[in-house]
Symmetry: C2
Subunit: 344 residues, 2 copies
C-alpha cells in the first residue's frame, strides 16, 4: 500500500531513488551529485539537479548519518534554565562556536533536578550527539562513564563532575570570594553578612569557603548568625538583609554570593538609605544603572563557554589525553550608579 494513495494531501518526501528514476540515472549517481563528488559528467549532473529541483528533494540527514556514522554535527548543552541570562550568554557562545564547526546545538534545562539531568544527558547520548557540554546539577555522573568510554566527548563547565573524570572548566570561586571579603575587611568592616543560595551547589560551597578563609586569615570571627542560606529570589535577599540589620550587633557590610541575591540586597539597602558595604559575586547587566554604589566579583561567562566549547571540539576532533581542568580568574569591579551626584 503506497502512502501517496493513502494521504494524497501530504505527498511523501522524494528520496534519492525517486530522483534517480526521474533523472534516468542510478541511485549512486544522485548521491555523488548531492555530495558534490567531482567524478560525474556535467550533463548527468545537470539532469540530476533538475530532478532535485523538480521533486523538491532534500537529503535525509538522518539516513545519511546512520550509514556514514561519522558525526551528527549536533552537540548537547545541559544547563539549569535558559531564561537565566548567565546561561543564555553561555548558550550564545556555544552556539556561535558550534556554527563555525557546522554543528547545531540542542540546549536542555534540568532545573537543578539530578534525575532530570541524568535522563536528559542519556537521552542526548541516545541521539548520538557528537559531544556534551554540562553544567551539572548532580554530584554523581558515573552513569556517563560508559558513554565516555565508548567515545562520547564531554566537557563540564562552571561546576565539576562527580564520580567521573572529564575535562572541566571552572571559575576561581574561592579566590574571588577571598578577595571580595578582603576588600570589605580592608575598608574596616568586621561584621559581614553573607547571603547564599544553597550549599548543595558547588559554586556556593566554594565561595563560602573563600569568604571563611579570608576572615580566618584576618583573624575575624566567622559568626554563623550573619550567614543566611536558601536565599533564592531577590525578595528573599531583601528579607534576609532586613532581618540581619535587626540583629543587636548588625553587619556593616554584606557579601552576596550570586547576582540575584545582590540585586535584592541592594534594593533593600537603597530603600532604607543604609550605606552598608556591599559586594556581590557575578556582574550583571544594568549593574551600572543601580541606584547605589556597590562592588562585584566579575568574571567572563563567555570566556568560560569559549574555553569549554573549544576543548569539546578538540575532543570531538579526536584529541586524546587525560582530562584537563582549567580555572579562570575573577576580578573585583567597583560598580556605582550612573551619576553619583544623585543625592546632591
Amino acid at each position: 500500500m503506497q502512502r501517496g494513495l493513502v494521504n494524497p494531501s501530504r505527498p511523501r518526501r522524494p528520496t534519492m531513488i525517486d530522483v534517480a528514476r526521474h533523472a534516468g540515472v542510478s541511485l549512486k549517481t544522485v548521491s555523488r551529485v548531492i555530495n558534490g563528488e567531482p567524478t560525474v559528467a556535467t550533463e548527468l549532473a545537470d539532469r540530476v539537479l533538475a530532478a532535485v529541483a523538480d521533486l523538491g528533494f532534500r537529503r535525509n540527514d538522518i539516513a545519511a548519518n546512520l550509514r556514514s556514522s561519522e558525526v551528527s554535527r549536533t552537540i548537547g548543552l545541559l544547563i539549569e534554565e535558559i531564561a537565566n541570562p548567565f546561561y543564555a550568554s553561555i548558550a550564545a557562545v556555544v552556539a556561535e562556536i558550534a556554527a563555525t564547526h557546522n554543528t547545531m546545538l540542542i540546549t536542555v534545562s534540568c532545573e537543578e533536578d539530578p534525575e532530570r539531568e541524568k535522563s536528559l544527558l542519556l537521552n542526548l547520548c541516545q541521539r548520538r550527539v557528537d559531544g556534551l557540554l554540562v553544567v551539572p546539577a548532580s554530584q554523581d555522573h558515573s552513569y556517563l562513564r560508559r558513554e565516555v568510554q565508548m567515545g562520547m566527548a564531554a566537557v563540564f563547565l562552571d561546576r565539576p563532575p562527580g564520580q567521573l573524570l572529564a575535562d572541566t572548566v571552572l571559575v576561581d570561586n574561592r579566590g574571588g570570594s577571598q578577595s571580595a571579603v578582603q576588600s570589605l575587611l580592608a575598608a574596616g568592616h568586621r561584621r559581614i553578612g553573607i547571603l547564599l543560595d544553597s550549599l548543595t551547589v558547588f559554586t556556593m560551597r566554594e565561595r563560602l569557603a573563600g569568604a571563611q578563609a579570608a576572615m580566618a586569615t584576618a583573624g575575624v570571627r566567622y559568626d554563623t548568625a550573619l550567614v543566611r542560606d536558601e536565599v533564592r529570589a531577590p525578595a528573599d535577599a531583601a528579607r534576609a538583609v532586613a532581618d540581619m540589620l535587626a540583629h543587636p550587633d548588625p553587619p556593616t557590610a554584606f557579601f552576596c554570593l550570586n547576582n540575584r541575591i545582590t540585586v535584592g540586597a541592594l534594593e533593600e539597602l537603597w530603600r532604607r538609605g543604609n550605606d552598608a558595604g556591599l559586594v556581590g559575586f557575578d556582574d550583571f547587566e544594568f549593574a551600572h544603572l543601580m541606584p547605589r554604589p556597590f562592588a562585584v566579583i566579575a568574571y567572563d561567562p563567555k570566556e568560560l563557554a569559549r574555553v569549554a566549547t573549544d576543548q569539546l571540539f578538540r575532543r570531538i576532533g579526536g584529541e586524546q589525553g587525560w582530562p584537563i581542568t582549567r580555572v579562570l580568574p575573577t576580578h573585583l569591579v567597583d560598580r556605582g550608579i550612573v551619576d553619583r551626584g544623585v543625592a546632591a
Copy 2:
C-alpha cells in the same frame, strides 16, 4: 576488518545484534524488550536486560527514527540571538512545552541575516525535525513552501512570514504604539521624539505606523525631524536624545520603539535631569529599578511563545485546516523607580 581491532581504546558501541548474541535470543526479541512490548517471556526479558547492562547498550535513536519515520522528537527554533533576554525567555517556554511532548529543542540564531535564516531553516528540514518555530529575519519564505507542503509543521511568531501562508502569532504592535502616543498626547505633549531601530524590521514598521496614526487622529503634525531610525545600541539612543534636545523646537517627550532604546534614552534624560515624558515599547527586567519614572507598552513574550508552541504541536499532531493568525494584546504600564523619594 573489525573496528574493535583497529582502535581498541574506543570500543565500538554495542548494537542490538550484540545484545541478542550475548543473551542468546534473536535481534527482534531485544527490540521488543527495549521498547517494552509485553509479549516477551519474563525469563527472556531478564536475560536481555542483563545483557544490556553488561554491554552498556543504548539504543541508537537515529537508526530507530530512520526505520519508523514517525517523529524525531526534535523541533527547531529560529531567532535573532539567544543572548537577548526576549528570545531567551521565548526559548525557555518553547523548551518547557516541548519537554512535555518528550521533544528536544534545537535553537539557532540567524542574527538578522536572511541568507543565514534560509540556510539554517533548510538545514533543520534536512535533519527532519518535527516542526519549526520561526521569528523571521527575511521577507521571503517561499523556499519553505515545498517543505510545508510535504508535511513540515511551521509556526511564525513575533513577525509574519513573507510569500508563504503559515500559522502566525503576533503582538498588537500598532495598537500598542497608538495607545503609547495617545497617553503622551493626553499628558499635553505635542512634540514627541520617536526613536527606532530599523524600518527593515516588521515590528518597527508597525509600531511607527501606530504612532503616526495616533498623531494623525489627534491632529498633531508628524515632524520627521523628530524621528530617528537606525538607533541600535543604548548609546545610539543617548546620542539621538541629546541631538533632538538641541533642536530649536525640541521634543517634550520621547517614544522608544524597543527596550534597548528605552534604556539608552532613559539614561541620557536622567543624566541631564530632564523630565521629558518617556514611553518605551517592551518591558524589561530591572525596569522598576531605573532611576527615573517612565512608562512601557508591555506584553508577555512568554504568552507569545506559549501560543505559538501549542499551535505547532497541534499541527505536528496532525491538525489540518487553514493557517491561523493570532494577535496578542499589549497594555500600558507605568514604571517608576524603587522609591520616588530619591530627590528628597
